[in-house]
C-alpha cells in the first residue's frame, strides 16, 4: 500500500494547490533565468549573426554598441585594400520611433550594405529579402508590422517586404532592416528649419552652403570586416588601427564589451533577483514539505506503534515530497512554456538551465525531506496516547 499516493488521493485539491504554489515558484525561477538568458542572447544576436570578424569603428571608441561611433561612409574603401581582408560592409544601427495607423511603434533600424551583403543572415519568417535599392524594409515580427504594410521613416515611405523572427537589439526592440543608404538618410533626418539655419551659419562663416549639412550625413557606425581564410586577425587589426583615426574590435571584443560593460549592471541585477527567488523557493518548498510531515506526526506515531519499519515512514514522506517537487516542476515548466512567449522580452528556456533547476529542486526537496524524516523518526510510538 502506497501511503503517499493514498494521502494525495484523499485530498487532491490540497495536493493540487500545493503543487500550484510550487509550480508558480518554478515558473518565476524559469522566467528570471530565461530573462537573463534572453537579454544576453538579444544583445549578442547582431554580433553573432552578422558574421563579422573585425569591427572598424571611430577612433578611441568602443562602438557601436557600448559607445557611439561615427566614421566616414567611404572608409570601407580604405579597409578593403588591407591585406587579409576578404570583404567589407558598412554598418549602421539607430533607434527609431514612428507612427503606423495611429499606433506609436519602435524599431532599431539596421542598414544592409547591398549588394555585398544580401541579408542572408536575417532569419526570415515571411516575405522576401531586400531587392530594391531604396524604400524596402524587412521588419521583425515583434515590431507588429506585416508584409505589405507601409511606414513613413524620415521623409520617405517604406514597404515591408519581409518579416523576421528573433531579430531584436539589446533593448528588446525589434529590428527593421533597410539598405545602408536608406539607413544613413534616416539617421541624418532633420527639420527644414534646422537645415536652413545650418546653411545660414555656414554661409556666414564664409563656407559653402553644403557645409551646413547634417553632421550625420555621409557617416556610418562601423565597417564590418570579413577576413580571408588563414589571415591573422590580430595583424590585420593592428594594421588598420595604425591609421590612428579608427579603432578595431574583434567579435570577442564586442561580446565582452556588451556582456561585461554595457549590460553588466543589468546582468548582475537579474542574477541577484534570481538568487533571491531561489532562496525564497527553497524556503517555501522546505516549509511545505516540513509542515506536511508535522501534520502527520500522530499518524506516524500510530504506524510506529503498529510496528511499522522506519523505511515505510521514510518512503511516505520522501515519495510525497518527490511527487510535489516533480509535479510542481513539470507544471511550472508547462506554465512557463505557455505564458512566456507572450511576454514583451525574450525568455530563453535553455535545456542546461532547466536541468540545473530540476537538480536544484531535487536538492531542495531532498533536504526538506531529510529534515521532515529526521523529525518523523524522532516521534515515539507512545505519542499516540498523548
Amino acid at each position: 500500500m502506497n501511503l503517499a499516493l493514498k494521502d494525495i488521493a484523499f485530498s487532491p485539491a490540497r495536493f493540487a494547490l500545493t503543487v500550484a504554489g510550487v509550480a508558480f515558484l518554478i515558473t518565476a525561477a524559469v522566467g528570471m533565468i530565461g530573462l537573463y538568458r534572453g537579454i544576453v542572447a538579444d544583445a549578442l544576436m547582431i554580433v553573432d549573426s552578422v558574421g563579422a570578424d573585425l569591427w572598424v569603428v571611430q577612433g578611441e571608441r568602443n562602438g557601436p554598441f557600448s559607445e557611439a561611433s561615427s566614421i566616414p561612409a567611404n572608409l570601407d574603401r580604405r579597409v578593403e585594400g588591407v591585406p587579409g581582408v576578404a570583404s567589407v560592409r558598412r554598418f549602421i544601427q539607430i533607434s527609431q520611433q514612428f507612427d503606423h495607423r495611429g499606433r506609436s511603434m519602435r524599431a532599431s533600424i539596421v542598414g544592409i550594405d547591398r549588394p555585398g551583403d544580401d541579408g542572408a543572415w536575417i532569419s526570415l519568417l515571411a516575405g522576401r529579402r531586400l531587392a530594391a535599392g531604396h524604400y524596402e524594409a524587412i521588419v521583425d515580427e515583434s515590431v507588429g508590422l506585416s508584409v505589405g504594410d507601409t511606414v513613413r521613416l524620415a521623409r520617405d515611405d517604406y514597404t515591408i517586404v519581409g518579416v523576421s523572427r528573433g531579430m531584436v537589439d539589446m533593448s528588446g526592440d525589434g529590428m527593421m532592416f533597410v539598405t545602408i543608404n536608406d539607413a544613413m538618410t534616416i539617421a541624418a533626418r532633420r527639420t527644414g528649419e534646422e537645415a536652413r539655419l545650418a546653411r545660414a551659419r555656414a554661409v556666414a562663416q564664409g563656407l559653402p552652403a553644403l557645409a551646413g549639412e547634417s553632421p550625420q550625413a555621409g557617416k556610418v557606425s562601423a565597417v564590418l570586416v570579413r577576413l580571408r581564410a588563414g589571415a591573422d586577425p590580430a595583424a590585420v587589426a593592428a594594421r588598420i588601427a595604425a591609421w590612428g583615426d579608427v579603432s578595431v574590435l574583434s567579435r570577442q571584443d564586442q561580446r565582452d564589451l556588451l556582456l561585461n560593460e554595457r549590460l553588466w549592471r543589468l546582468r548582475v541585477q537579474i542574477l541577484a533577483f534570481t538568487v533571491v527567488l531561489l532562496v525564497v523557493m527553497t524556503i517555501v518548498i522546505s516549509l511545505i514539505i516540513y509542515t506536511m510531515t508535522i501534520e502527520k506526526l500522530h499518524q506516524i506515531a500510530m504506524l510506529k506503534l503498529m510496528g511499522a519499519r522506519s523505511r515505510m515512514i521514510v518512503m511516505m514522506i520522501a515519495q510525497q515530497a518527490a511527487l510535489i517537487g516533480l509535479t510542481g516542476y513539470a507544471a511550472g515548466l508547462a506554465v512557463a512554456a505557455l505564458v512566456f512567449p507572450y511576454f514583451p522580452r525574450r525568455v530563453a528556456m535553455e535545456a542546461n538551465d532547466l536541468g540545473a533547476l530540476l537538480l536544484a529542486v531535487a536538492v531542495i526537496v531532498s533536504a526538506a525531506s531529510l529534515v521532515g524524516i529526521h523529525r518523523a523518526l524522532q516521534v515515539r510510538a507512545q505519542e499516540v496516547l498523548a
Binding site: 500500500m1 501511503l3 493514498k6 494521502d7 488521493a9 484523499f10 485530498s11 500522530h298 499518524q299 500510530m302 504506524l303 510506529k304 506503534l305 503498529m306 510496528g307 511499522a308 519499519r309 515505510m312 515515539r380 510510538a381 507512545q382 499516540v384 496516547l385
Partner: protein
Amino acid sequence: MTADPILRITNASKHFVSGDTVVRALDGVSIEVRPGELVGILGASGSGKSTMLLLAGLLEVPTAGTVDLLGTTVSYPDARLDRLRDLRRRHIGFVFQKANLIPFLTAAENVALALEIDDVPARAALNHAVALLEELGLGHRVDNRPARLSGGEQQRVAIARALANAPPLLLADEPTAALDSVRGRHVMELFHHISRSAGTAVVVVTHDPRSLDLFDRTYEFSDGKVIAEHRGNHTAPAMPLWEPRPHLTD
C-alpha cells in the same frame, strides 16, 4: 486457568525524574495474563494504569523488574526499545480511547495496513481485512474512510486492525470512554468474545464500571501499586462476533 501466561510483568517499577523530584509512576507491580483471559486494569487517574500498559505494550522499558512475553523475558531496564518493535508488531494489538485510524485510508485499508506492516502481501491483507470487518458487522463500511464512520464503528475498525495479524495479546486503553453505554457494552462484549474464541489474552485499562461483569480478573491500581486483585463472574455475550483467521493467502 493453568496455561502459561502470555504476559507476565514481574515486580516492575517505572520512575520518571522531573527536576529534583522522582515520580514513581509504577512501583513494584506484578501481573499475569493467560491465553483466553479478559483482564481489567482499574484505578483512578494517575494510579499507574496507563504506565503499566506502556510497559506491557513494550512502549517503555521498566526502571526495575521484567516483562515476559510468551514465556520470554523481553523487556528489562537496559532493554532497547527499537529492538522490541518486531515483537510488538507480531504479538501485540492495541486499541485506544480514540480509534486513531489513518484518515486517508478506508476502513479495510486501515486494517490491511497492519497486515502489510507484518509483510502480508497487499491483496491477501485486503481480503482478510474485508472478511474481518464483515465479521465485526462492518461489511457495508469497508470502503468508507474514518470521517464517514460513527464513533462506535471507528472503534470496531480499530479493534479489527488490532486483531488483524492474530496477536496473542491485545491491550486496550479506555476503549469505551468515548462511546455511549450501549456501544461501550458492545465493544466490551467483543473483547470478551475475542478472548474466548481466539484464545487472545486481552487487557483492558478502564474506569468504566458498567462492564466489570465481563472480566475474568481485575487488578485495582492506586499510587502506582496493585492494591487488589479480583476474580470476576462473567456473563457470556449474546452472540458470537468474531472468529480468528490464522492463515492468509494471496
